[in-house]
């Protein structure tokens, strides 16, 4: 490098710049749109970073580079954001001739990582962790353990705690790992074991589902084992039918109305509504009051 090519030492990012950028990741999806998806949020996160490391006249052009199409899972985007911040910092330390190449590397990293991270993020957070936490809360509600003592508020709090401990943990660690590793971040993601966690959590969800199925039908046990078994078989058949319908891409909202219609048919069909399998509902065996009796 000739003395002419040497560039002056530019300011490095401070802890506050990184903290500000990380907090802005919470607004990543505010201006989500159908043309460029997360591009605005991505640029917004980089604003404090670019303010620090770029001269005033170059900031706009640098920010504009990050306004291209970008779409991934909002939590997993932290890995890419951390890496891009590090690479932008490295770009500024390079001589002018090599800066263009670094810009292309940054763009390639974004394009290359957003798809796989979206896939793993959607699968882990939306299709596995959130259903697990939701089902845990539902099962706790159904267990009736907290309601009589007035501690039922614990259930939503527990739901938020379990989900957000993982969510914020991965968001923060992803951001820091990305910043530490730069373009090597892709290797760091494997260490989180998200694929393995998905497999484990799905089985844990099935265990919770089994408890839910038992809780929904257990109230009838006191009326006799034969009725309980009959109800369980009826419930399993109904669940199988509904699962088939959902699998055929019928939306839950459509299914809701179909179920209500089906229930109304049962009510207007005297032979069926008189059947003990339907009649007992899911009310506790000892406290059951028929709805018609309540209306009288």
């Amino acid at each position: 490098m000739t003395p002419e090519e040497k560039i002056p030492e530019l300011p490095r990012l401070t802890f506050l710049d990184l903290a500000s950028a990380f907090l802005r990741t919470l607004f990543l999806q505010a201006v989500w749109n159908f043309e460029r998806y997360l591009s605005f949020g991505f640029a917004l996160v980089l604003v404090p970073v670019l303010r620090r490391i770029y001269p005033r006249e170059e900031r706009g052009e640098a920010l504009s580079r990050h306004m291209e199409y970008f779409n991934t899972h909002p939590f997993m985007a932290s890995f890419i954001l951390g890496a891009v911040i590090r690479m932008e910092e490295e770009r500024q330390q390079l001589p002018k001739a090599k800066q263009k190449q670094k810009e292309e590397e940054i763009s390639a990293l974004k394009v290359g990582m957003m798809g796989p991270l979206a896939a793993i993020g959607d699968n882990f957070f939306w299709a596995t962790l959130r259903p697990y936490c939701g089902l845990m809360a539902v099962v706790l509600v159904m267990s009736q353990a907290f309601q009589p003592k007035g501690y039922a508020w614990i259930i939503p709090v527990l739901f938020l705690l379990v989900f957000n401990a993982t969510h914020l943990g991965i968001r923060l660690m992803g951001f820091l790992q990305g910043y530490r590793k730069g373009d090597q971040v892709v290797l760091a993601i494997r260490r989180y074991g998200l694929q393995e966690a998905i497999r484990g959590l799905k089985l844990a969800t099935l265990l919770l589902l089994s408890v839910l199925i038992v809780f929904v039908n257990l109230a009838d046990l006191e009326k006799g084992p034969s009725l309980f078994i009959l109800r369980l078989i009826f419930f399993t058949a109904i669940v199988g039918l509904f699962t088939f319908a959902l699998h055929r891409k019928i939306s839950p909202s459509q299914m809701f109305y179909a179920v209500v219609l089906f229930a109304l048919m049962l009510a207007f069909w005297p032979d069926l509504s008189a059947s003990p399998v339907i009649l007992s509902g899911h009310a506790p065996a000892d406290g059951f009051i028929h709805p018609l009796a309540m209306l009288k």
Partner: protein, 256 residues
């Protein structure tokens, strides 16, 4: 109940920001919105029960790609507020819950459609921001972000007001229902729990873990019936087993 519409709408608008605009801490999920609105209307347990039911039925509606799921914040908020209004000693709460959810679904769908329109409109903000960026006006990004959050807050507030008002006006219809319809709505509640179980199965169960589900239902039945492990003890046991399974898989991955 409905005289609290302003407070309820304000709370729903604040919570609805969490759906996508701010944080995504899941405070806009039905299991949280339900009890919060239930607490404000004085029917906490009803809110918790309805929140759990709505959470369960729409558990598989996930925001993958460009898909915007149903606005469950408006759905659960309006449904719980409305059910609180309908709940009297005269009607079984299950029937009121089913009717309230049924009324709130179109309102939630409308809210999702408004959200889609707003997201289309946001393209203009992005183009404007890019023009401003090229002129080195970086501060514009922060202003646009703030304006959009305010816009989404306003949208959440207006949708909640509209939802609560329309739901309130349909309360008279519920009181006019013949006894057989109320009975049907009551049965529907139990069937909706079955629909919730189906939603979980549709999301989680594959060919390779179907046998695991069958075995786990059988084991838990044995535990509950023969072992007499029930209630919170059964849930704790299952949560512990789930934790061990997850840790086992995580450990396996590390070794590999």
């Amino acid at each position: 109940m409905m005289h609290d519409w302003f407070l309820l709408s304000l709370v729903l608008a604040l919570l609805s920001l969490d759906i996508s605009a701010v944080g995504q801490f899941m405070v806009a999920r039905p299991i949280v919105v339900g009890p919060v609105i239930g607490m404000l209307t004085g029917h906490f347990e009803l809110g918790l029960g309805m929140g759990a039911l709505i959470e369960l039925i729409w558990i598989g509606d996930v925001p993958v790609g460009a898909h915007l799921p149903l606005d469950l914040c408006v759905l659960s908020g309006v449904a719980v507020a409305f059910a609180s209004e309908l709940t009297t000693a005269k009607y079984p709460p299950e029937a009121a819950m089913t009717y309230a959810i049924g009324v709130a679904i179109p309102l939630a769908a409308l809210s999702t459609q408004v959200e889609i329109l707003l997201r289309k409109f946001h393209v203009r903000w992005v183009h404007f921001a890019q023009r401003m960026a090229l002129n080195n006006h970086l501060k514009t990004f922060e202003w646009i972000n703030l304006v959009v959050i305010l816009e989404l807050f306003l949208k959440g507030f207006l949708m909640a007001v509209l939802g609560l008002t329309l739901a309130h006006f349909s309360a008279g219809l519920f009181q006019m229902f013949p006894a057989k319809v109320i009975e049907g709505l009551y049965y529907a509640h139990w069937l909706l729990l079955a629909l919730g179980c189906s939603a979980v199965i549709d999301l989680v169960v594959e060919k390779k873990n179907f046998l695991f589900l069958v075995l786990s239902v059988a084991s838990i039945l044995c535990l509950a019936l023969i072992g007499q492990v029930q209630g919170i003890w059964l849930v704790t046991l299952v949560l512990m087993a789930g934790l061990i399974i997850t840790l086992f898989f995580l450990g396996k991955g590390e070794n590999a």
